[in-house]
């Protein structure tokens, strides 16, 4: 059932070089050339099909380093796509990611590690006890529409964590509502 792999000629080389250039703009479905609704069996077939064309072993003996580099870039991305799409949970999350406004940033699937999740949470409410205390107080003021007090509390929180983007957003929001 397998179709013969594309021969390695000039046309192929031009195509591969072009593909390697635009890898960063393609999502995994485009890389494996499958529809977002493709069943798992089709994803496996697509992976085999692309492997027949781009597996680095086919190019092992070539002297052209440029083409080998391009193939290496393409094939590593094919593997990355397969790892994500063969797993239902990952694939569902990935599809949601690339269907949203941050599509461009989320073309490469990264599973949030425990460390990163912790970091996200820290950014949200703060990494220092004092910062968190003032920030929470600020949120309470904000909910009670005491915007001036909220702004002071957020400013205090920022003195403990000057880099926290979430604190800055809330401070600016409160400052706007005071005026």
């Amino acid at each position: 059932m397998s179709e013969p792999a594309q021969p390695i000629d000039d046309a192929f080389e031009i195509e591969a070089q072009a593909l390697a250039q635009i890898m960063d703009e393609l999502d995994y479905f485009q890389i494996l050339k499958v529809a977002p609704a493709a069943p798992p069996s089709e994803i496996k077939l697509a992976y085999y099909r692309e492997s027949r064309t781009y597996h680095p072993d086919r190019f092992y003996r070539l002297d052209t380093g440029d083409l080998k580099d391009a193939i290496g870039r393409i094939y590593k991305r094919i593997n990355e796509a397969y790892v994500c799409l063969r797993d239902d949970a990952r694939r569902t999350k990935y599809l949601a990611d690339i269907s949203g406004p941050d599509r461009q940033k989320k073309l490469r699937f990264v599973e949030a590690s425990e460390q990163e999740l912790k970091k996200d949470k820290e950014q949200e409410i703060g990494a220092t006890p004092q910062g968190r205390k003032f920030f929470m107080a600020g949120l309470q003021d904000f909910a009670a529409q005491r915007f001036a007090s909220a702004e002071r509390n957020f400013k205090m929180a920022l003195t403990y964590e000057p880099g926290n983007p979430n604190y800055k957003i809330k401070r600016d929001e409160a400052a706007r509502l005071v005026r």
């Binding site: 597996h55 072993d57 397969y82």
Partner: protein, 527 residues
């Protein structure tokens, strides 16, 4: 004349070499018709070096200068448990080299582990050259699937030292599967159960017409046929202790005689159901009387003393099946690889666990080398007639604060693969970023294998948080890890210094090549 590339199974206890002839893999015997060769190197007084079965005879008579089971130590740090264990039982001298590396001292000379393995590889190369009548320079060398990056890198270095261009470091179970499925046009899901001299691997594969996809692999690099021998040794030593009050384990010379007898007893009990052990003159009693050791080992006794080792392999099998999201009943075939799988206790336990009899007609000692030569030919031809889709066996991690690690690339991810991670400087004027890279399944650094400490420099010097460095972790088709870094804003690649690595430098490899080339291997028949 066609270019020739050889396939080498570099085993813990035995090695084997194969080439493809008329499209079929064949095992090349040495001048005396031996098809497998003890991975033993013996350095004689007069400077002669013996490798193979003739060297193995010297384990007792030239114990201090005869190296065996080097594969158990290759790519390990001096502080590792395996090295400590080896120091206690090996008759040859194991000492610490630079950067926590391991060196063997043979008389006045120091050898790294890759240099020892390179002598075994040199012998394999010589066997083929002797058969073909001309030089060969290219090879595929196999390693246990569960080998980490340090062990793979060290094996590759061994190949280079032996004057070989290593086309690929290939996983042993994958090689066996290739040999099994090659040219047979089958579609099957198979398990390769590979119990070698020092390591255990299990790989689950899906074989299609032209594709060999590894779905998962798991293993234990501290479990092999040697451990079965150890059980018999303990049993014999205890028996002798009870009879005479003498502890044979206190003397390394006696230990070697025990070891040799135990290996023979294991083979005999597996083949005949009973083994008669007779070691003449194993020691002297306090009055100077020479004593013999006599014992009879029955299969039931042997099975009792090794059952837990067999059970340990199935724990690993559970893990591999789970990673592949399968149960034993989903498999079409089970292939046994490695000498110890000849043991009836293994065959019956495997049959029971997988609910099917292992495939017959596959030589467990030769199938890996044959797969390696098929892959060697295929890489030379590059026609893409079949392709191997292999995976990385261990999770790649980076060290974080407080002795913890963060996952970078999951185990069982197809290779080649890469992943990048950004780091920012956390001090004003920071010049260097240090990253520790690990492999293992624990989030605690101490429970993982350290691959090395990488130090990146040569990026812009600026205030903290202003410089972003993107570090790229790549695992190549050999399963070897490469780490590079670039300044995100300028795209400038940064330079990298590796601290804390057990590996050899380029310069060390070059001088080892010279030493290896100058070494003459004796071509003397084993008795």
């Amino acid at each position: 004349m066609d270019e020739i590339a050889i396939g080498i199974d570099l085993g813990t206890s035995y090695s084997c070499v194969s080439i493809l002839e008329n499209g079929k893999p064949i095992v090349i015997p040495n001048e005396w018709g031996e098809r497998t060769h003890a991975s033993v190197v013996s350095f004689l007084e007069d400077g002669t070096v013996l490798v193979g079965n003739s060297a193995k005879r010297n384990i007792i008579t030239n114990a201090d200068n005869t190296v065996y089971s080097a594969k158990r130590l290759i790519g390990r740090f001096f502080f590792s448990d395996e090295v400590k264990k080896a120091q206690a039982v090996m008759p040859y001298k194991i000492i610490e080299g630079e950067n926590n590396s391991v060196r063997l001292q043979i008389r006045d000379a120091l050898f790294s582990l890759p240099e020892i393995s390179a002598l075994v590889l040199k012998e394999m190369k010589a066997i083929v050259e002797n058969y073909l009548g001309h030089e060969v320079t290219k090879a595929v060398v196999t390693v246990p699937a569960y080998f980490n990056d340090n062990q793979r890198q060290a094996t590759k270095d061994a190949g280079r030292i032996a004057g070989l261009e290593v086309l690929r470091i290939l996983n042993e179970p994958t090689a066996a599967a290739l040999s099994y499925g090659f040219g047979r046009d089958i579609t099957q899901r198979i398990a390769v159960y590979d119990l070698g001299g020092g390591t255990f691997d299990i790989s689950i594969l899906e074989i299609g017409k032209d594709v060999f996809e590894v779905l998962s692999t798991a293993g234990d690099t501290y479990l092999g046929g040697d451990d079965f021998d150890d059980r018999i040794m303990t049993w014999l030593a205890n028996l002798f202790m009870k009879q005479t009050g003498i502890d044979l384990r206190l003397n390394k010379y006696c230990l070697q005689m025990l070891k040799e007898a135990s290996e023979r007893a294991k083979i005999d009990v597996g083949r005949d159901g009973v083994a008669k052990v007779h070691i003449e003159g194993i020691c002297q009693d306090p009055s100077g009387k020479v004593m013999d050791l006599d014992a009879t080992l029955h299969e039931a006794e042997f099975n009792r003393m090794t059952m837990d080792l067999v059970q340990r392999t199935f724990k690993v099998c559970d893990e591999a099946l789970q990673s592949a999201r399968m149960t034993a009943s989903d498999l079409d075939a089970v292939i046994l690889v490695g000498g110890p799988t000849r043991l009836p206790i293994i065959r019956t336990s495997v049959k029971h666990y997988f609910q099917k009899a292992p495939m017959a007609g596959i030589d467990p000692d030769e199938v890996v080398a044959m797969g390696a030569s098929i892959q060697a030919r295929s890489l030379l031809d590059s026609k893409g007639e079949h392709f191997l889709l292999d995976v990385t066996p261990l999770t790649l991690r980076v060290g974080t604060v407080g002795g913890y690690t963060d996952k970078i690339i999951d185990k069982n991810t197809p290779i080649p693969i890469e992943r990048s991670k950004s780091y920012t400087t956390n001090r004003d004027g920071q010049e260097k970023v240090k990253i520790r890279v690990y492999q293992g399944e624990s989030n605690k650094a101490a429970e993982c294998e350290l691959l090395g400490e990488f130090e990146f420099s040569g990026f812009r010097i600026a205030y903290r948080g202003e410089v972003r460095i993107e570090v790229t972790f790549e695992i190549d088709t050999n399963g070897i890890v490469n780490v590079t870094a670039a300044d995100v804003e300028t795209g400038q690649k940064t330079s990298c210094t590796i601290h804390l690595s057990s590996g050899l430098t380029e310069q060390m490899i070059r001088s080892a090549q010279t030493k290896n080339a100058a070494t003459v291997l004796s071509r003397e028949a084993a008795a």
